[in-house]
Each structure stands twice: as structure tokens, then as C-alpha cells.
């Protein structure tokens, strides 16, 4: 077997909308293929993703093949297969797990089951093929903020593999709230990215909107449903919308949504002296939020890590490969005789150990 840092892992993630496969070598991303609903739908003008299409079955084979081809690694040189087992949509997870097991069995490789949220946490540690890792001397505990369509969590990282969820959403996730706000403004779905573009040109102080959980930050709870309701009413009142209104509405919504997130994060900083701040998930692609978080990290003299590319922010398999690398190092993998134990865990929590 190759030395530690050259472990080659083929990883698969089918936790929800995206069908993803990647090949990694240690923390180096050799290929990262994502079959995305979003890009497909953008072409057709913001149609809702369809579950029929979300059936990963037809495209998983192609995605894996492409990931292997782009990585220029021969399948026989792969050391292990990694796969997301949760959290996510049961029928979607199932497809990835089945495929991973097929591969692991056919090529007699160990299997590494991974929690999707851990993938987002550790996505900040990935580096590209051309660059050497710039990350050295990680300091713990680190505070990880994972914000995506499916997750909004603050997680204390005692060390890699040892986590504690400190705060999570009580209703909508941040990514979902941004997508829904975009939808209300007629910007299609998923529209978080377009909302950001619109917001950039707008004035965030045009409309009064409530900052969620104001004064109750010590509860360590994210909540976006109240803001969403207020925004719905505001948008209805402002109709018909025009370009300028849309920009100002987008800016106002984003501002309050982010203020809320930042206030909770600050509160957590006060209570848990974290040494580093890691920010992963689809919302980590948002420049405005990154700017605000970088600012508070700077005030605290803290290092902030974010994934090196947008592709590592949204759901992807390379981050699963990174997590698998650390598990592989700790000898946490399954061999053929344990394969039949592996199952999907739709509500997996990152601070609970996987059963196998």
C-alpha cells in the first residue's frame, strides 16, 4: 500500500440533488465531478428540480467513470472506496451506497462510510493538484460553520473525527432561506447565487426586516422562518417588482440573514475559545458573508479556512474523499465481510459515531 499521504480514494456522494464522484490522493483533489441539477435547470429558466431526474441511477456510472478518467489513476491503484451514508434523502443515498459496494466488492477494496456534514467540515483542508497544501499546523479546537441548502450548523472540532454540534437551525437552513427569497423575487430556483448578484447592486437599508433571534443569541439557535415570513409580506406589498426593487429587497434580506448568522457565531466565539474558523457548504461561496466572517475572525486574530474552489463548497465527492483519507489513516474502514452491514442513515448527526 502507498505511504499515508498518497492514499488514493474513489469517493461517491448522492445525498440529495447532486450526483458526485471524485478521486483524491491524500488531501489532494485529482478529480471532482458533479452532475448538477442547478446547472441543468439554469438553462431551462428555473424549473424545479425533479425527483425523477434526481434518481441518480442513470448517471452515477457515467460520473464515476469520468472521475476516474480525469484523475488519470487506474482503478487498480485506488486504495479505497468512500461513500456518503447520510444525512440526506434515503432513496438518493441508497444509489451511491449500492454503487460503492459494487465497486469495493468487484475490485476488492476496503469501504469507508462517511458523514456528508463531516465532508463539508473537512472540505476546507483540500488542496488542488497543482498546489501543495498551504494548510499546516492545524490548531484545535476549531469552530466549523457548515451552511448549505440542507445544513446550517456550528460544530466544534476537538480534533479531526471528534465533533460537537453547538448550534443548528430550528426551521429553514440558511441556503434554503436564500433560495426561497430568490424564488419569491422571481429569480428561479435554486437562486442563492443570483440573489447575491442582485444584492450586490442593492441597498440593504431600504427595507426594514427583522434580524432573527435578536437578543436571544445565547440560545445558539439559527432560525430563518420568521425572516422568511416578513419577507414574503414585504414582497407582496412591493409588487409589482422592478429591477431596483428586486436589488434592494435582495440586499435587505441577505443583510438580515447574514447579520443573524454572524451574531450567533460571535456568541459562540465568546463562549468557546476556538483557535480557527472553518467555513464550508454552498453558502461559503457567498462573497458578502465571507467578508463579514473574515472581519470578525480578524478581530479575534483567528485564522479562517474556506474551500479552495466553489466546487468544494456545493455538494461534492472530493470532500468525502478528504474525510475518508483521515478515517483511512485511523484505520477506520470496512472489509468485504462487513459490507452487508452498511446502510443509509438519512438523519445521521456528525457528532454521533457511525455504527460500523
Amino acid at each position: 500500500m502507498a505511504p499515508n499521504t498518497q492514499f488514493k480514494i474513489l469517493s461517491i456522494d448522492t445525498s440529495c440533488d447532486e450526483t458526485a464522484a471524485a478521486v483524491t490522493e491524500g488531501k489532494k483533489v485529482l478529480s471532482n465531478i458533479i452532475w448538477s441539477q442547478a446547472s441543468l435547470h439554469a438553462k431551462f429558466g428555473g424549473v424545479y428540480p425533479s425527483l425523477a431526474k434526481r434518481m441518480h441511477k442513470e448517471r452515477i456510472g457515467w460520473v464515476i467513470e469520468k472521475a476516474i478518467k480525469n484523475s488519470k489513476v487506474k482503478i487498480k491503484n485506488i486504495d479505497s472506496i468512500a461513500v456518503t451514508v447520510g444525512p440526506g434523502l434515503a432513496i438518493a443515498l441508497e444509489v451511491g451506497i449500492k454503487k460503492a459496494l459494487e465497486f469495493a466488492e468487484a475490485y476488492n477494496k476496503p469501504l469507508i462510510p462517511i458523514n456528508h456534514v463531516e465532508g463539508h467540515i473537512l472540505s476546507v483542508l483540500a488542496h488542488s493538484r497543482n498546489l501543495k497544501s498551504q494548510i499546516s499546523n492545524l490548531k484545535f479546537p476549531a469552530l466549523a460553520f457548515v451552511a448549505s441548502g440542507g445544513t446550517t450548523q456550528l460544530i466544534l472540532v476537538y480534533k479531526i473525527g471528534d465533533y460537537k454540534i453547538l448550534a443548528q437551525t430550528s426551521d429553514d437552513s440558511l441556503g434554503e432561506a436564500l433560495d426561497k427569497a430568490a424564488r419569491m423575487l422571481g429569480l428561479g430556483y435554486p437562486g442563492g447565487a443570483i440573489l447575491e448578484k442582485m444584492a450586490k447592486k442593492g441597498n440593504s437599508q431600504t427595507y426594514p426586516l427583522p434580524i432573527p433571534m435578536l437578543g436571544q443569541e445565547d440560545k445558539f439557535v439559527f432560525s430563518y422562518s420568521g425572516l422568511k415570513t416578513a419577507f414574503y409580506k414585504l414582497v407582496e406589498k412591493e409588487k409589482p417588482l422592478n429591477q431596483e426593487k428586486i436589488q434592494n429587497l435582495a440586499a435587505s434580506f441577505q443583510d438580515k440573514a447574514f447579520k443573524h448568522a454572524v451574531r450567533i457565531i460571535q456568541k459562540v466565539f465568546d463562549e468557546y475559545p476556538a483557535k480557527e474558523f472553518w467555513f464550508g457548504g454552498g453558502v461559503a461561496a457567498n462573497l458578502e458573508l465571507k467578508k463579514r466572517l473574515r472581519f470578525i475572525c480578524k478581530q479575534k486574530g483567528m485564522k479562517m479556512l474556506i474551500p479552495y474552489s466553489k466546487k468544494l463548497c456545493t455538494d461534492n465527492a472530493a470532500m468525502i474523499g478528504i474525510s475518508a483519507y483521515y478515517r483511512f489513516k485511523r484505520k477506520k474502514f470496512l472489509t468485504t465481510r462487513d459490507f452487508d452491514k452498511v446502510d443509509r442513515i438519512p438523519r445521521a448527526k456528525v457528532d454521533k459515531k457511525l455504527p460500523w
Binding site: L51, D172, S173, S225, Y232, P346
Partner: protein, 349 residues
């Protein structure tokens, strides 16, 4: 299988087939129905096989009049009132059964749904047979509502076709809703399925806060809890963005003693709490009814699960497929004047 135009049909011919345990497809004032002698165990086995639904799912029966009904069920005051007002007509009244029909017709709890179809041929057949006949729609379970013969024959297997002895073809029927099903065995009559006949049971309540909304959910749960484990219970939630569908589900979870945190399932499409004690689905991102099918909705219904579906209006057809089997409560939430106020209403529509 013999297909005959209705104008060429003689009542005796149908009666003879039913007497010998045969299965006949005939039009009613709602849909095409599949009929067998409800007192003949062999015939009932045949219809169970034809419908392809598991033993234990009850069948309604058609009778000629109230007098005949009283030989098979116990009619309470509520039931009598419904008979007077609506029958014959597109209403099925569920009462306590007297166990005089073949096994598999009454529900597991011994209740029996009775209907008096407002259709000349069907009534003449029952009169001549002098026995109740099963009154179930002629489609196989989970298939299209049968308004014309091809709706039926195009969607069944050859085995199923071989079970049919006679088809009475009356052309395409007006697209009426199936009968409204009302259960009178409880203190308040409850509508199990809404057809064209509507009872005035719509209530609208003003919720003044999230807490209020949760409490209303709790009260609704207590109202329908008696069906828990006997039928699937579906809370079909309808209301605009931010109106409180997730809040309602949180209240439902509280009332049911669910321990997991209840959150919006928009992204994942589905969350299962406490290992499936409560299923929470969000149809906002769904573009067609088939997506709910793909999530294994049929399985949840047959497992008698409790399901809350947000944006249920987006998948209304799939949900309605089960309105004979499941208790489906449509909960509508709309914005009221003040910021935190909402109007909540519910019913079987």
C-alpha cells in the same frame, strides 16, 4: 370476459352471474364499479384478487335501500340523518357492521361502508339479487379513476382481466368525484373521503402566534389519534411561503411525543423522525405527483404511518389516490391581518 353495451343488458343476466359468484363491471352515478355478491366468500376473494389490494382493506357495499342496509349494519341517529338527506346518491356511510357479509368486506374493526347508488341498473340488479354487492371502483388499486372501460382495461394485467365475467359498457361517464365517505361510528361524523357531496364541517380558527398554531396542531392530532395504527393519517398542509407549515408540524410532533428536532424538509424532501414515527415531506421542490410516489408514499399509507406534507397542493392527485384508505386532513393556513396571525381551517377537501 364479455363486454356488452348497456342497452343490450338484461337485469337477469347480471344477477345470474353475480349469483354464481361472478364479477361484473357496471357504471354508477360516480365511476365504473366492480361488483360481486358481498355475502359470497368465494366472490369476495375474487374481488380482492382483482383489486390487488391486501386482505384487510375493507370494501363498501351497495344496497337497494335503508331497509336492506339495516340487515347488515346498525344505523345510529347520525347515519339515519345522512341516509335521509343524501341517499340514494354519491355518499358512502360507514356504520357498525352486523358481520353478515363475507370475510374481508367489513373493516378490521367491524365497520361497514354502505352506499345506495343513484343508478337504475345497479338498483334493479340489487333488488332482484336481494343481497348487497360490493361497491368498489373498477380500477385496480392505485390506478386511474375509471370513467370509461379503457381506463380499466388498459391498466390491468391479463390475470385481472380473466377475473372479470361481464363488463357493462355505458360509454364515458361524466367525470364525477367518487362518493363522499363518512364514518358515523365515532362521536362526530368524520369524512374519510370527500366527493361531490360536502358537509358543512369546515372550521376556521384564528391563530395569534406560533404557539397557538402548535396547539391547534395538537388538538387536531387528538381528534384523529383514534385512527393511529388503524389507518394512515395524512396532514396535507397548504399555505403560502412562511405561513407556518413547519410550525404546525412541530406542534404535531410535540403532541405525538416525537423527540427528534423537526425542521423544514424542503431541501431533503423528506425527514423521518423517531425512526418513522412521523414522516415529514415537503413538495415545494416537486414538479409532479410522481415524485411523491417515488418517495414511497404508497408504502407509508399501507404501513399506516403518520405523514405531514407541506405544499400538499402540489401533489394533490397522488394524495387523493389514497383517500379511501387513509384519513387525510387538509389543513389550510392563510395570512390574517396582523403579522403573527394566521387563519387555519381543516377538512377532508
Amino acid at each position: 370476459m364479455n363486454i356488452k353495451k348497456i342497452k343490450n343488458i338484461k337485469v337477469e343476466e347480471v344477477v345470474d352471474i353475480l349469483k354464481s359468484g361472478g364479477l361484473v363491471i357496471m357504471p354508477t352515478e360516480t365511476l365504473y364499479g366492480a361488483f360481486v355478491d358481498a355475502t359470497n366468500p368465494r366472490a369476495v376473494q375474487k374481488i380482492i384478487k382483482y383489486k390487488n389490494r391486501p386482505f384487510g382493506k375493507p370494501y363498501s357495499v351497495a344496497v337497494e335501500n335503508k331497509k336492506m342496509a339495516e340487515n347488515y349494519v346498525e344505523l345510529n341517529e347520525t347515519a339515519k340523518k345522512l341516509y335521509r338527506t343524501f341517499l340514494p346518491g354519491p355518499v358512502t356511510v360507514v356504520s357498525k357492521g352486523l358481520h353478515k357479509v363475507a370475510p374481508g368486506v367489513e373493516s378490521e374493526n367491524g365497520t361497514l361502508g354502505i352506499r345506495i347508488p343513484n343508478h337504475k341498473l345497479v338498483l334493479s340488479v340489487i333488488n332482484s339479487l336481494d343481497k348487497p354487492i360490493t361497491a368498489t371502483s373498477a380500477n385496480a388499486s392505485y390506478q386511474k379513476r375509471p370513467y370509461k372501460i379503457s381506463d380499466i382495461l388498459d391498466n390491468i394485467s391479463n390475470t385481472q382481466k380473466s377475473l372479470i365475467d361481464l363488463v357493462v359498457d355505458a360509454g364515458e361517464l361524466p367525470n364525477n368525484e367518487p362518493s363522499t365517505v363518512i364514518d358515523t361510528t365515532l362521536d362526530d361524523p368524520i369524512i374519510l373521503r370527500q366527493g361531490d357531496v360536502k358537509l358543512k364541517n369546515k372550521v376556521e380558527i384564528l391563530s395569534k402566534s406560533e404557539e397557538n398554531t402548535k396547539n391547534i396542531a395538537k388538538e387536531l392530532w387528538q381528534k384523529y389519534e383514534k385512527y393511529h395504527g388503524k389507518r394512515a393519517i395524512v396532514f396535507a398542509l397548504v399555505g403560502p411561503m412562511g405561513s407556518g407549515k413547519t410550525i404546525f408540524t412541530k406542534g404535531l410532533g410535540l403532541a405525538m411525543g416525537v423527540k427528534d428536532d423537526i425542521v423544514s424538509p424542503t431541501y431533503n424532501l423528506e425527514e423521518d423522525y423517531d425512526e418513522g414515527k412521523l414522516h415529514h415531506i415537503d413538495a415545494w421542490r416537486m414538479s409532479s405527483d410522481s415524485e411523491l410516489t417515488d418517495l414511497g408514499f404508497a408504502q407509508k399509507i399501507s404501513n399506516k404511518n403518520v405523514v405531514a406534507i407541506e405544499w400538499a397542493d402540489r401533489v394533490i392527485n397522488e394524495i387523493r389516490t389514497y383517500d379511501e384508505e387513509a384519513v387525510i386532513i387538509w389543513v389550510k393556513i392563510r395570512y390574517a391581518k396582523r403579522q403573527n396571525e394566521r387563519w387555519l381551517s381543516w377538512g377532508a377537501t
